[in-house]
């Protein structure tokens, strides 16, 4: 059965027909062709598919597209203007917080939600805050550093957390 949904994605209003069972991650990747959101585990353990839904991080592999009707979605492609970096992106670059880059978009989206609720987190709070996002390459040290750097800069700049 098809359902018409209307939602805002990275600031753009979109209307689409979706099947009941279409997963939000496939809507984003295949219908919207925003392939920065990845699929890593299918069981909501790895967080590669993390996006912001109405400002909150969720795992789009475990969310039906039809339920996003009326919502506002931000994906990695919508975090900063093209050609520029949000402080969180700059921080991941500066601190070498990414290797293969596959977990990075989800990690960044999750970090944004974390920093919105806790603008000045401790190392420990960051580690717990990203515990639903797996990274196989970095050993997390530099991701923690990156989130700290971003926290500092966002506080200084009072940059909205998207």
């Amino acid at each position: 059965m098809k359902h018409e949904i209307t939602l805002k994605i990275n600031g753009e209003t979109v209307t689409a027909e979706v099947d009941s069972r279409l997963l939000l991650v496939h809507f984003i990747r295949e219908h919207m062709e925003l392939t920065g959101t990845h699929i890593g585990c299918d069981t909501s353990n790895c967080g590669a598919c993390t996006i912001l839904l109405d400002g909150k991080s969720i795992k789009s592999c475990t969310y039906l597209a039809v339920r996003a009707d009326g919502s506002e979605i931000t994906t990695i492609e919508g975090v900063a203007e093209e050609g520029s970096n949000h402080p969180i992106q700059q921080a991941f670059h500066d601190q070498h917080g990414l290797h293969c880059g596959f977990c990075t978009p989800g990690m960044i989206m999750r970090s944004l939600d974390l920093l919105k609720n806790n603008p000045d987190p401790t190392d420990e709070e960051i580690r717990w805050g990203i515990s639903g996002n797996l990274c196989r390459c970095t050993g997390y040290n530099n991701i923690v550093k990156a989130v700290k750097q971003a926290a500092k800069e966002m506080q200084q700049e009072k940059q909205p957390a998207v």
Partner: protein, 785 residues
Amino acid sequence: MFNCKTSAEVGGMGHSVKRKEDARFLHGKGNYVDDVKLPGMLHMVMVRSPYAYAKIKNINKEKALAIDGVLAVITGEDLAQYNLHWMPTLLSDTQMVLPTDTVMHQAQEVCAVIATDRYVAVDGAEAVEVDYEPMDPIVDPFKALDEGAPLLRPDKENQKDNHIYHWERGDREKTDKVIADADVVVTERIHLPRIHVASIETCGCVASYDKDTEKLLVYLTTQAPHAIRTVVALVAGHVGLSEEKIRIISPDIGGGFGGKVPVYPAYVVAIAATFLIGKPVKWIEDRSENLVNGFARDYHMDCTLAADKNGKIQAFKVKTLADHGYTDSSANPSKFPTGMFSICTGSYDYEHAFAELDAVYTNKAPGGVAYRCSFRVTEAVHAIERMVDKLAHKLGKDPAMLRLQNFIKKDQFPYSSPLGWSYDSGDYEATLKKAMEMIGYDDYKKEQAEKRKEGKLMGIGISTFTEVVGAGPSKDFDILGIAMFDSAEIRVHPTGKALARFGTKSQGQGHETTYAQILAEELGIPYSDIEIEEGDTDTAPYGLGTYASRSTPTAGAAAAVAARKLRDKGKKIAAYLLEVSEEDLEWEVGKYFVKGAPEKSKTIQEVVFAAYTNIPPGMEPGFEATHYYDPPNLTFPNGAYICVVEVEKETGAIDVKRFVAIDDCGNIINPMIVEGQVHGGLTQGIAPAMYEAIEYDDEGNVLNGTLMDYLVPTAVESPHWETGHTITPSPHHPLGAKGVAESPTVGAPPAIANAIIDALTPLGIEHLDIPITPAKVWEAIQAHS
């Protein structure tokens, strides 16, 4: 600490320049295989066996084909018509692409469903009716050789039992004699269980065959695109896929760690499907398909270490049983069925050793791929490092002191190991002492003594490992006969900017930055002016790919040598431009100048421009060079890791308090990237040490086929890593570099295991196999109290 010859702007070796590849990943513009979308693309989903061992009596496609959008169901019988139902493994064994009569492990591919849509393909796979006749599987490798055990591979001529091969190195008799006469002997059976790399991106491909041009294009999650091209040509040449018509593109790869070296059956089926249907076919593995295929480890090692009463090690012996699953698909060099396992004598100086191994078939998925380690080095290092600790405990000696006493000394290099390797360089004593100083070893020893008095369980664990990477010299190392060289091709454009291509393939290692730095070091062209490309077999020079820490030792060396060829050419051009003889010129990074008259000089950019515009008479125009580097030896990185843990007696909970890793990987190209690689490797070291193992029940069911049950560490489990370096350059590598990314995965598990077992020593616990979980510790505590 890092002596940089170049300015920060040029960014040669030793500079922690930020990565050039980051921008696309940070903005969601990475291009991974599942991001590839081709016109008319179809989707493939595999039907997999629920049984570990079963006859296939019938496959009924009808219900699947009746689903709107399902175009085809491909079975082994279908492939058999083209003789594509079996394929060779990298180690001269054979593996089913799709079965015609028997499935040999749970989740083995049974048939493939091709549909217009991913969702429909999954529905189709569920609708295929397969009639199985389950049989009793062999799950325990120790029972594989029992009399009366079913013969698992009757398809192989001359295969009379489930034994695959026997391998041995060293002098059995002498080693036995030294052990028999030794003052102190320790023994242990050590198991390294199956684990899975679980890169966050699973495997997949998009195969596209154009019937008009007869060209096959495959986007593939592979660490070795060129080797795959050759394998495809070897497997499918007889149906008309010849090598010049095959193009493999390895786009961005979401982590490899060895799991993306093998040719998985579904790749071949996707290629067969596009070949037959003439439309692009995408196959993307889901996580549980990923986790139940392509394992690392699974060695059962009976170890014996002998020493005199003063603690001088005299001999080491290991007898291993290797569980390969139903086929030997180890991704090893062909003359090394057990990989570099014979590095198992470790970092210590003694004369006698003997290692042997028997490999057997079982009803499990094909094993023997890596998990972020050079071929079987993790197994070897775990064996010797556990045994050295056990010896220390038996002698009542401090494990650090015992190691310092037995180390190969700095002036003994190059060192011939008892099992035949020639270690290139190292200063093991300095490395361990640096680690001890950094962690405050003596203080922890005192703290431990205090805690023990209070009945608390605290442990300190060390591992001082020697790695062997960078395969390898062509006289010994080949895969399917192809020598394990690697390549670099440099094109410097008239304006002094460059494009360089390599036979390797980064999966997160940062090649786009580090290779540019090597060229910057050698040519003086800023790293930011150099583009690096890899992974497209139509454009890149042939190479064996990226795994086993071989990129820097092979392709990195190729880059240096190719750049030096250009520098030689540049010197001729500079001499012509400056009207002096070549002998009058000297090179300093970025320019040639006249000896004694440094104001008379030409920059590399000026020289390059002249190579296109003002060519010396008789000289070939252009400024390009290619080199295929055949390393004279392997490189032998080493490290000293120290781990401090506390164990809660009541629950078995393990708290890793500190972990210090000092690595010596020779000269360092980019310290930031090396440190990042070490961090990542350490987390992939704690993973098998405390969390990960693929478990089977007696019926051959895999019990942890999702990331709910296969416990990849999060940022909470992963400790804050403390790292450092000593630098002992490789004497034979053009840059003095050695390779590093796998050292921590090799070195961390024994350090952690040694620490936990050290904590439990007061209770009389002498050994635990990894993963050492709180439940395992708790049980051991119960059994010993």
